[in-house]
């Protein structure tokens, strides 16, 4: 089962979606983008709620464009579940089910036995989404579309249901399109990520490829790379791979001279960085390490770029601390630090620290982005 989108466009008022070309195999493709970027439009086009102005949608060899919703065999889980309020949970699932065994099976898989005879109004948000998922799967669709199904849930329930979805998706042998604006959910569930911006695909690739090698500034920022700087390629590192890049007064050594985004980069530009060319320098905060200024430089750290700086600000984000360190030349590097490290270093505003940036954690993007 494969979904193939080609040249898909849809204009709606001021907003233009596409053209989008995309192939989804039997995998989970997490579609990630800010609100208003066209994620839901993508799902609506595949589901048949909206008709494209041009392009084709082929599912399992069948052209879907022009077919009514009911003939598409496209399963959709809506944002708030869209359960029929006048039916019990069981009736909702039975509505589409091909057999009673399937209802029982889905109720068991999604742990719905206790709530089957209740109406949607009396269900919790998490239960509603489970019922909605069961109802969609009961129709045995050829593809599963999910429109931010976890966005209205409280954090603990969201996390639990996300983990369950992960297991459930693995058991499905159909393409899954999962739309979300939450990067954590996208990377946790997606076999691949598709980053959407202003109705176009900015980058498609595995979570690690997209997170570690963003193809554009937008992707870098949207996937949590807060350290995005303008830089210039200074010179090649003598006798090996990598270049020196100049960012303000600081010079960073990278381990690669490749400035392409990734294999699936939207720009498609790749190649060696010529000295003097402008690049965007991306460093993910989780790759930035902090050390006391008086720590002895060990073997590993010798390889890393090292600068000293002062803590300008820090935030406790629960699982980790976010520390902004002001280094030479007014440059501010953000590091995410686990609580034990934070406590060991005794970090507070004004603390002096040594900042380590491993060369392999520096990603370069060429300055060929289309202007927005």
């Amino acid at each position: 089962m494969t979904l193939e989108l080609s040249g898909l466009t849809n204009a709606y008022g001021e907003f233009t979606f596409g053209p989008v070309d995309l192939t989804v195999e039997e995998e989970v493709l997490a579609v990630l983008g800010p609100s208003g970027s066209g994620k839901t439009t993508l799902l609506s086009l595949v589901a048949g709620i909206a008709e494209p102005d041009a392009g084709s949608i082929v599912l399992d060899g069948r052209e879907l464009v022009g077919r009514p919703l009911e003939d598409r065999r496209v399963g959709m889980v809506f944002q708030e579940g869209a359960l029929f309020p006048h039916m019990t949970a069981r009736e909702n699932v039975e509505y589409a089910a091909t057999s009673d065994e399937r209802v029982a099976e889905l109720a068991a898989t999604l742990e719905l036995e206790g709530v089957l005879d209740r109406r949607p109004a009396t269900l919790s948000g998490g239960e509603r989404q489970r019922v909605a998922l069961a109802r969609t799967l009961a129709a045995d669709p050829d593809i599963l579309l999910l429109d931010e199904p976890l966005s209205s849930l409280d954090a603990p329930i969201r996390k639990r249901l996300r983990d369950e979805l992960h297991g459930l998706f693995a058991s499905l042998d159909i393409p899954v399109l999962y739309v979300t604006h939450d990067q954590r959910t996208a990377t946790a569930l997606g076999d691949r990520l598709a980053i959407v911006r202003d109705g176009e695909l900015e980058q498609v690739g595995t979570p690690s490829a997209v997170l570690d090698r963003p193809a554009s500034r937008f992707v870098a920022r949207f996937t949590g790379t807060e350290n995005v700087f303008e830089g210039t390629v200074a010179e090649s590192v003598g006798g090996g791979e990598g270049v020196w890049v100049q960012v303000g007064d600081v010079r960073f050594r990278t381990s690669t001279s490749d400035v392409s985004g990734s294999a699936a980069s939207a720009s498609g530009v790749s190649g060696a960085a010529d000295p003097g060319s402008s690049v965007t320098v991306c460093i993910h905060p989780s790759r930035v390490e902090l050390e006391p200024v008086d720590a002895s430089v060990d073997g590993g750290a010798e390889q890393a770029n090292t600068v000293t700086g002062t803590v300008a600000r820090w935030l406790n984000e629960g699982n980790e601390y976010r520390v902004d360190v002001e280094v030479e030349g007014g440059l501010t590097l953000t590091a995410s630090v686990r609580p034990p490290t934070f406590e060991r270093l005794g970090i507070d505003t004004g603390s002096e620290l040594r900042v380590l940036v491993p060369p392999e954690s520096i990603h370069l993007i060429p300055e060929t982005e289309r202007p927005r």
Binding site: G48, P68, V74, F78, A82, F84, R135
Partner: protein, 280 residues
């Protein structure tokens, strides 16, 4: 408001103004209550006075009058047929009006509302130009043995013209209140438009639709202007009241009027019982 007192202590100032504000809002509330209450009295007092104008035995006595019984039968029968016709023809139009996204929509809605704003007698005149005995349609139908004026069919035609917009307008609002996402969900589960309408849209819009049907029935029961123009015979109850009033005076109209009120209220009660919403 009085000028702000100067030199007063800080502690008394806020208490005073709060008190004044509360008094002011209470005054507005009582004025609103009096206004609404007066209107309620205006609705109810004449009805009460009507029921006091004729003794129950008088009313029951008039029930024995064949012309009154015939009028009651005609009214109930014609209003029921009208309600069914208005519902069968009105619901599809209401659904289209609720869901269509064309600029034509407002024009169509204006046409639907037209019979509501037209004086009923003018409605009757308009209908006569199409269904009258000397028109092509009316003449052909009369020749075929189904006269469209001075017949039960004529009564139904007049009542439908005046009463069916209530079904369309009310059901349109009811359909609009049903989340389209639910229809999309149903269809994406492989259910046809018709199955979706029957299983999802209609049950959810049901209470609103029944309100419209009830209104249409009540309007049909009370229809006088257009009915009198199109079908003076067979007499409906409003026409019978008019005839009694004209020929025998007000006193003789009272019992028939009371009967009409009782029949209408009873019919509405029945409709509303059927309309009770099981999942609320």
């Amino acid at each position: 408001m009085a000028t702000e007192p100067t030199g007063s202590t800080d502690s008394t100032q806020p208490t005073k103004s709060t008190h004044a504000r509360r008094l002011g809002s209470a005054d507005w509330l009582s004025i609103a209550l009096v206004l609404g209450g007066l209107l309620l009295v205006y609705y109810f007092a004449p009805l009460l006075s009507l029921f006091l104008s004729a003794s129950p035995s008088e009313v029951l006595g008039r029930l024995g009058d064949p012309s009154v019984r015939s009028a009651a039968t005609t009214s109930l029968l014609s209003a029921s047929i009208t309600t069914v016709v208005a519902t069968v023809f009105g619901l599809p139009l209401a659904y289209w009006l609720a869901r269509a996204e064309t600029p034509w929509k407002n024009g169509v809605l204006a046409v639907v509302v037209l019979p509501l704003v037209l004086p009923p007698t003018v409605g009757g005149v308009v209908l006569l130009t199409v269904f009258g005995p000397n028109t092509l349609l009316g003449g052909t139908a009369a020749a075929a043995g189904l006269p469209l004026t001075r017949s039960l069919a004529g009564v139904v035609l007049a009542q439908t013209f005046v009463a069916s917009p209530f079904v369309v307008v009310t059901a349109k609002a009811a359909f609009e209140s049903v989340d389209r996402t639910l229809e999309h969900a149903s269809r994406s589960l492989g259910k046809s438009r018709w199955a979706t309408a029957r299983n999802v849209t209609l049950p959810l819009a049901g209470p609103g639709i029944l309100a419209g049907v009830t209104l249409a029935f009540a309007r049909a029961m009370g229809e006088f202007g257009a009915t009198m123009m199109v079908a003076y015979y067979p007499r409906t109850m409003p026409v019978e009241i008019w005839v009694s009033f004209q020929s025998l005076g007000l006193d003789s109209a009272y019992p028939v009027a009371i009967l009409l009120v009782v029949i209408s209220v009873a019919a509405l009660l029945v409709l509303n019982t059927v309309a009770s919403n099981p999942w609320r």
